[in-house]
Symmetry: C2
Subunit: 684 residues, 2 copies
Amino acid sequence: MFNQALIRPQSIVVVGASNNPAKPGGHLLQNLLQYSFGGKLYVVNPKEDSVQGVAACRSVADLPSVELAILAIPAAACVQAVRVLAEEKGTKAFIVVSAGFAESGDMGQQLENELLKLVDQHQGCLIGPNCIGVISPAYAGVFTSPVPALDPRGIDFVSGSGATAVFCLEAGMKKGLRFASVFTVGNSAQIGVEEVLQHWDESFTAESPKVKLLYLEGIRDPQKLLKHARSLRLKGCRIAAIKAGTGESGSRAALSHTGAMASPDVAVDALFRKAGIIRCYGRDELTTVAGLLLLPAMAGNKLAVITHAGGPAVMLTDCLEKGGLQVPRFPDSAQKEGLKSQLYPGSSVENPIDFLATGTAQQLGTIIDCCEHDFPEVDAMVVIFGSPGLVPVSEVYQLLSVKMKSCRKPIYPVLPSVVNANEAIREFMDAGNLVFTDEVAFGHALLKVTNAPQPMPDDRQPSKNVQLQQIIASLPDGFLPPLEAQRLLEAAGIATLGQLQADGEQQALDAAARIGFPLAMKVVGPLHKSDVGGVLLNLRSAEQVAAGFRRLMAIAGTSAVLLSPMLNGLELYIGAKYEKGFGHLIFVGLGGVWLEIMKDVQVALAPVSRTEALQLISKLKALPLLEGYRGQSGVDIGQFADLLVQVSRLVEEAPGISELDLNPIIAEGKRFSPVDIRIALNRK
Amino acid sequence: MFNQALIRPQSIVVVGASNNPAKPGGHLLQNLLQYSFGGKLYVVNPKEDSVQGVAACRSVADLPSVELAILAIPAAACVQAVRVLAEEKGTKAFIVVSAGFAESGDMGQQLENELLKLVDQHQGCLIGPNCIGVISPAYAGVFTSPVPALDPRGIDFVSGSGATAVFCLEAGMKKGLRFASVFTVGNSAQIGVEEVLQHWDESFTAESPKVKLLYLEGIRDPQKLLKHARSLRLKGCRIAAIKAGTGESGSRAALSHTGAMASPDVAVDALFRKAGIIRCYGRDELTTVAGLLLLPAMAGNKLAVITHAGGPAVMLTDCLEKGGLQVPRFPDSAQKEGLKSQLYPGSSVENPIDFLATGTAQQLGTIIDCCEHDFPEVDAMVVIFGSPGLVPVSEVYQLLSVKMKSCRKPIYPVLPSVVNANEAIREFMDAGNLVFTDEVAFGHALLKVTNAPQPMPDDRQPSKNVQLQQIIASLPDGFLPPLEAQRLLEAAGIATLGQLQADGEQQALDAAARIGFPLAMKVVGPLHKSDVGGVLLNLRSAEQVAAGFRRLMAIAGTSAVLLSPMLNGLELYIGAKYEKGFGHLIFVGLGGVWLEIMKDVQVALAPVSRTEALQLISKLKALPLLEGYRGQSGVDIGQFADLLVQVSRLVEEAPGISELDLNPIIAEGKRFSPVDIRIALNRK
C-alpha cells in the first residue's frame, strides 16, 4: 500500500538502467536525472561500471539500503530482485515497468502473484507491473516522454493504461495543462486506480491538487471507487474520467490488453453520477474538460462571448444555448452605449460582442472591464481571438493573460489561429495559461463541466426488517411465485393490490366475490402475459369471470390465474438489478411502451435517497405525464419518490434479490398499486 | 455572375496595393506575388511609383485594360474605381475586400447597391464586398494567411465569413487537408454561397474536385442551394457544411456581423438531408469530416482497428459501435493463427488487433496485408500508432503511407503522439497524407460520413388539380372552418371521416342519425379542444348526443359541434408548414403525447416522394407501434406513406396553405381517418 517510500523517497534505484535511452531502463534513468530528483540515485546493471554517469552496481545484492526500486528487467528476473531488495535492502516501494506478467498468460500470472506476495509480506508498495511508472513532485519515474512540467496546483492523473496516459499527456500539454502527479497502474497487482484515489482522499489537505483525471478500462472495486471519488468531491475536488470499453468489442479489446474486467456500462454511468464524476469518452474531450476544471468555475449560467470574428462566436453560441447555457442579449443601458462609443463603428455590443477584425488589445480590455463591472448579466466571459495573419496578436494575448488573473469573473480563452498565431499562442502558454483552439469543442466541455453531477452523500440507513429477513430466509432461489413476491413487498411496507390467486373455477369465483367488480384477471406462468392474450380487463360479472378463467387456463404454461381489482391510471415502472461489485441498480420510469420502446428510464445505484429519487423522476422525458397532462390527472410525485426509496431499501436489506420488476405500477393521485410483481432471488 | 475573368484571369490589378504587408492591400499583393500568378499583374497606389517591386499606377484611370480587379480601398472610393474599371478598362470581375458596405448600415447599403448595379450593367462578376477574397488554382487573391498549397484533387471551400474561413483553413492544414479553391463571399452582394455552388455544379467535369465544404450563416436562396448541392451529390461529389446561427442568440450574432437572414433550423436540417449534405457544427468537426471525404470511402460497415497501444483502440471501438459501425471479432482461421505467429507473444489478433508497444513497421505491414487479403470481415482499417518517446516512428509512418496508396481497402491513420512524434507526423503530412490525432473525434467524423444522407432525386410531378384550385380560390385567408378544411382534403383525394357539423340540437340529432352510434362530438372554435373538455367520445344514444350538445355549446368560444363516427386505432400525425424560401416542411409522427412530449417527429422538405416518406416513417422511434406491438394491431405503413405523399402534393399544388395539421389521424390497418383537420391559408 501507499507509503512515503513511494511518495517522497530519499533514495531510488533503477534496476536495469541502461546507457541506451531507446531502452526503458535508459529513458527512465534519463528522466530521473533530468527532472531533478533530490535524493540518492543508484543504478544496477550487470555489465557496466557506470550508467549515464551514475556509478553502477552489478547486482541488487551490491546495493546499500534503498527506499524505492524501479525495475526495468525481464519479468522472470523481477521476483529474485524484489526478494533481495525487500529482505536485505529495506526497500519499501517498487515500481515494476517490466511486461510479461498477468497480461501474458498463466506463467506471468504466477510471477505476478509471487511478486505481490513478497511485497505484501514486507508491507511494501507495488506499482505495476506492466506500467510506464509514476511522476510525482519528487521524481520523474517513467520510461516515456513527455514529462510535463510539474505544478502543485496542476492535475492529479491516474491511468490504467500506460500508452494512453502518454497520449493524454501529449493532448493535455498542447492545451497548456499542468500536472501535479501521474500514476500508471499497469496490471494493478496491488495498487489500482481505486487505491490511488484512496490515497488522494486519505492524504487530502487544503494544499492538495483539486483536479483529478482518471483513465479506466476496468473497475475492480466499484464501491471503493465510489467511496473515495465521492469523498474527494465533497472535499471540493473536481473529477473527470474516461471508462473505456463500453460495448462488447471495446470490452473485448480492454480485456485483451490489460486483463481488465468488463463492467456493464449502465452501472458505470450510475456510479459516476453518484460519485459526481464527469464522464468523458475521448482524450481530447478529457483534456479540454480538465482545462476548464483548472480554471475558475462560473457562478451562474450566463456568458458573454467576445470576439473579433463573428463565425466562431456564432457556432459557440449555438452550442452553448443548445446545451442550456445562456448568451443573453444585454439590455440597453448607458454602460452599453458607453462601451459602443469606445469601439470601432460597426462593432456590435449585443452579445456576442464583436469588436471587428481591426479590434485592438485596448478595446478588448475595455470590453472585459465592462463585462466585469457593468454587465450584471455576465457570469463569465469567453474571448475568441485569432489572427488573419496581418498583424501580431501578442499584445492582445498579453492583455488577456493579465485580465484572466485580475478579473473576478472567469475568462475562458479560445485562440483559433493555430497556424497564424502559433508563436503567440506558445508565448501565452509559456506564461502559464491554458488554451482552447476549437470553440465548439470548448463549448461542449463547458457544458459537461457546468452540468457535472453533484456527488450524492451516502445517507444509508442501517435498519433491519426482521419480518423481511424471515420471509427471504424461507424462500428458495429463483423467481418467486406471485403471492410470495406480493408478501415480500408488503413486508417492506409497500402496499400492493391484494391480488388473489385461483387454480380452480370456483376458487376464481370466490376470489372475484371478495375483490368486487370490475376486476382484472391474468395468467400465472407465461412471461409475456399480454403477448399470449393472458390478460383480461374489466370483467364485470361472475359469468365473465368463469368464462375468462377457462380461457386463460387453456393458455400453454398457465398454472393458475391472478385476480385483482380493475384500476385506471398511469402505468409506472420501478425495477432493480444486482450488478456484481456495484450493488443494486435501481430503475424508474413509465411502464409499457414508454419503457419498452422509448427506453425512457432513469437509473441510479442503490441506496437511492429521496433527493436522488426526485432527481431521477424529474429527468424522465415523460415527466409531464406524471405531473398531469392535458386534463389527465397526474400522480403524487413525492409519493412516487417514496416508493422508489422503499424499493431501494428493500434490495439493500435483501441483497439476495437479484432482480425485481414492478411493471406496471398503476398510479392515480396518491395511490400506487404494483400490478405485476416479479422478484428473483439469487444468494449464491 | 461567374466568368472567366474571375476564374482564370489573364491580368489582375490590386487597387490599394501597399508596401506594408500588415495592410490588406500589402498582404494581398504579397500573396499574389508569392503564389505564382502567371498573368499580368498591376497595382494602383496614389503615392508610390512601385509597390513590392511592381510598377504602380497612381489611379485606375492610368491602367491598361485588365480582367480582374481586387479592391482594397475605402468603401467610399470603390464605386468610382469600379466605374472606371468597368467602363474604360474592360474589367469583368471584381473582388472587393473593403468593409464599410451593407454590414455597416444604410449608407453602406447604398454604396453596395451602386457597386452591384455598376457591375451588373457590365455583365461583370462581383465577389464581396467585405470578404477576404478568393484562392483559385490561378491566383491567391486573399489578403490573409495562410494560403494552403493548392491541389486540383483537394477541397472546394466556400465561406460566408472571411475570418471563419481563415480559422477553418488553419484547422484543416493542421490535418494535412489540401484545397482546390477557396471562395469567401462577404456580403454576397452578387455572388453568394448559392451562386458558388451553382458555378461548381454548372462547370462540373470529371476532373473537378469532388469534396465541397461550406460555411454558411444565412441561406438567401434555399431552393438554389438545394438544387445545386443535390445535383453535385448526384454527380458523385460529397458535401459537408456548417450552417451557424441555429438558436436565437446565435442567429442574432450572425445577423449582427454579416447581415445574414436567420433561417429556421429545422428547415435547414431538412434541406441538408434532402440535398445529401453532411451537417457539421464546428471547425474541427468540419475539417475532420473533410479529411475523411478526401480518403476512399468504406465499402461496408466493418472495420479492423490496428494499434500498438490498447486504450485508444478501445475508445475508438466504443465510439464506432455506439454509432452503428462494426469492429467484428475475427473467426478462428489458419490466416489468423498465421498472423499471430508473426507478431510478438502477447499480441492480440482479435479485433482490435494489438501488436504491442514494441511492435515494428514490418509487423504492421503484415497485419495490413492480412486485413487486405485474408480477412473478408474487414471493409476498412484504422491504424492508431503513436510513440512513447523511446524510438523513432518514421519507419512505421512511411510504411503506412505506402500501404495507404497501395491497398484496395481504405486505411485511416490516427497518429496521437502530437508531442513525441511531432516531426514524424509532419514528414507524413509532407508526403501528402492526412492525419487524425484524436481517435474519438475521428470516430465521430467517420460515423457522420458513413451515415451521410443520400440526396433525394427531384421527382416532382407537375399536375394540376382543378377542383382543388377552385376551392382554394373561393376561400379567404386564415384558418378554414372544419368542413371547408375537410372539403379541401377530399378534393386532394384524401379520405376523411365525413364529419358533420351542427349548431342546433335537432341538427345534431339528425347528424347523429346519419352517422350512427357510437360517435364522437367536439367543439368548433376553441383551439385546444381536450384542454377545455371539448371532446366527447363513445356517445351511444340520442339522449347522450342531446345532453352532450348542450354541454359543449356552453364552452366559451364554441360556435358549433362536429360529429363523427367513433373510431379506435393508433393516433397518427401529419403536418405541413410553409417556410419562406424553403417551401413547405412536412412533418410525420404519432399524435398525442408522442408528438407533444416525446417530440418523436420526422421532418422533410416538400415534395416528399414515396421512398422518402417510407424513410421518414422508418426513422420514428415509435415505429414498433406502427408495425403492431405486443398483440396490438399495427397500421399499413405503405398506405401511411401514401397519405404523406398526398399531403405533400396538396401543399405543393396549393402553396397558399401556410399551415396544415392532421392531428390525430386515427389509423387501423389500412384505414386512415383524419379526425382533426386544421388548415390555414396565407397567400400574401
